[in-house]
Symmetry: C2
Subunit: 115 residues, 2 copies
């Protein structure tokens, strides 16, 4: 068999850097597709396709505004990720401090680049 489908779950959906970029765009609030296209300098069809994937997983929702579609982030859907990470945090208290250092380091140097 092949790779599992991106639409299967949140973990796969956020695996793509572009999709993360789109989500990042939406942090500041609802946006139309064109705004995302402008912000990321990606072809419109690609943005639409990625939005579809994100939508299938529930990470974004869409509402019509005239002939535009306004997309909005659904941060609650990131919960599975958060929950998964929490398992590790719980089980690994011993190394958490080191993890925190790493986080701070990342936040200091890069900014939007969370990869």
């Amino acid at each position: 068999m092949a790779r599992s489908a991106t639409t299967s779950d949140v973990f796969n959906a956020i695996g793509d850097a572009r999709r993360r970029a789109i989500l990042d765009e939406l942090i500041s609030g609802e946006k139309a597709v064109a705004a995302i296209v402008d912000g990321l300098a990606l072809p419109q069809p690609q943005v639409s396709k990625h939005l579809r994937v994100l939508s299938d997983v529930g990470l974004v929702t869409c509402r019509a505004d005239g002939r535009r579609r306004l997309y909005r982030l659904e941060p609650a859907r990131l919960a599975p990720l958060q929950a998964w990470l929490a398992q590790y945090a719980r089980a690994m208290n011993a190394r958490l401090d080191r993890m925190d250092d790493y986080i701070k380091e990342l936040q200091r140097e890069g900014d939007g680049d969370a990869s």
Copy 2:
């Protein structure tokens, strides 16, 4: 072009449910490949391949013990994920309560199944 490589970053690496299962196995501590194979009932070559991916990304490290290889989790490498999520938590305080509810709900029903 095709999909981006799984080895490119942590986000892709944990996109695969089997790889998450392997990481979950390692939460309890260092384990040999055979132990993981037994625990997950996966073919040994698959486990080795997934371990390779996880290793490339730094999520696990390996040390030799006789003819066995003991793999160990490197939770610090989950930091990019944590940092990425933190962005959303920061920007979305308004909806955080709802997110917390979702998390608690997930933790209540499923347990290991964080997908």
